[in-house]
Amino acid sequence: MIDNLLLGFSALMTPMALLAVFAGVTGGVIIGSLPGLTSTMGVALLIPLTFSMPPEAGLAMLGGIYLASTYSGSISAILLNIPGTPAAVATLLDGHPMSQKGQSMRALALATFGSSIGGILSVIALFLIAPPLADFSLKFGSPEYFLLAIFGITVIASLSAGAMIKGLIAGLFGLLLSTIGAHPVTGDVRFSFGSPILYDGIPMVVSLIGLYSIPEVIAMISRKQVKIEESSKTPPRSALSFLPEALAQRVNILRSSLIGIIVGIIPGVGCSVGGFLSYDAAKRASREPQAFGKGSPEGIIASETANNAVTGGTLIPLLTLGIPGNPVTAVLLGGLMIHGLRPGADLFTLNAEITYGFILSLLVANLLFVPIGLFFARYCAKVIQIPTAILAPCILALAVIGSYSIRSSLEDSLIMLFMGVVGFIMTFFAVPRAPLVLGLVLGTLAESELARSLALVQGDVLAFATQLVTRPICIVLLILCAYALYQGIVQHRRNSNLLDT
């Protein structure tokens, strides 16, 4: 193991590789913080840049972009209530309220430190126990994915505390939106109004941009009172001063990282689900659950630690088995292949130097985005002080071009506007949006895996039901779902006795 470390070290310690990591992290921080630019796009579109670089440098840069952009989505989530990347949706639930109380720096610092630690822990997992974890990921078949999606959906209940029925309706609507497009097994196209651009459904990132940017801009221009910026009156505390607070949440960090790593190794689930699941778990375990949604530091740390831990997790099946778990790792796989590297045993033996160099570069990237991110965030915090008359049109322009660029399609900008209308309607009627996002993310997974499970048993529903209660992982997931539902009911009863909702 030490020799592997040293091998990696020697590959990494070249000026080119280090510069590549630095460039990747800086680029990633900027890309992730802009709503409209996502990690996938950043990695995919910058791959040609790496063509002429040696493999270690090219991979290091791509890895840096991946990690840094997953983290930096929290910057705009906290400051503007607009998630910069899907991974940051759970962060805005508490990040933005904390920022509104004038504690922007605290929220940003907690998010940064949490992300970094989560990322580091997941890289360590990648380094030490990749093969057995990868084998575990293979045990996930369609029934397991279906139950995982159901479990994720039960989290909707915890995101709707205080407005249970409205939250459920939002979640259902999100699930319904995800059914737009071709059915994953029959190929039948639903709800597309004959427009080919909807054959693949409503793109998730486009929805996010519309759902959060438009209502936020509307709120900005219709707010008559002066914005409360207490932080401009008191001298801003340095970010480092919040490090002890972050580190004090040991249990939260460890649990969130674990959830993130596990979600990461299961192909096809994704960073945002990791953030939500961890947020939910933290809320259940917390001594102050009612603070969640109003600026709870635990919520921010849970979400950000988990979504960065997912990144390391996704690299485990990628490097050991050549299985990409999300669009970014699929692109990374392409990147690996372009540089002539084949995932599998070869990667750790023949190409050991490059591989361990890459893993170490991830570690460096996780550390590097702390100073770079906080430096960048401090300037971003100033951005929200720009007069609304200037800021609002700029955000809208970014939203339009951002949603266009994912598929080079202006129709996507229209879809963004439509989702913006949906978002406005929801904020107008005080319906929480996070459940809709979760429904949108998990709906496709639930529907396709259910259809696929049934296809695998030739439509025999009884056989499928038997599978659900006999396969070991399914049993665990069923217990988790049951527990989540039970807890949800208990909490709801408790809440409705305290308040009168």
Partner: protein, 166 residues
Amino acid sequence: MRLDQKRESLFCGLAFLTAAALILASLGYDIESAYFPLLLSLLMGVLAIALFVQTLMPHSKETAKAQTEAADQSDRDQNDKDRAVMRDQLIGFFKIFVAVLAYIAGIQLTNYTVATLAFLILMMGMLGTHKVLHLALVAAGMTALLSYLFFTFLGVTPPEGLMAFG
């Protein structure tokens, strides 16, 4: 009914109509392809009704007292304030919606650069920026920044409008 009850009921109505529309649409497809959305929309319709019922029923002594004191002057003031806030929000929504729609149409009619410059200048002006210098600088700077970031740095193809340049 109180204002907030009216608002909640309106939402229930919207949700119910959406659910009904989706149920009708789902029935137009093969059952194998549509059972998922069908079940979900049925559930949504049921929840919309449940929410409506919950909104109308008093839940505790507090809300029951509030209902009997609805004629109170302070409540009427609150209602007026709420109404004003809602009206502002709706006006804001309308402005933004039309603006963004016009912007997207503009990109198709002219090209990205022209449309973005026009959009930024017009919007900033509408929202209250009067200094021409600010308008020009921000519009030009932002357009240049976005163009560079997306079209040059990331290599995305610019949207094709009718005007060749840009």
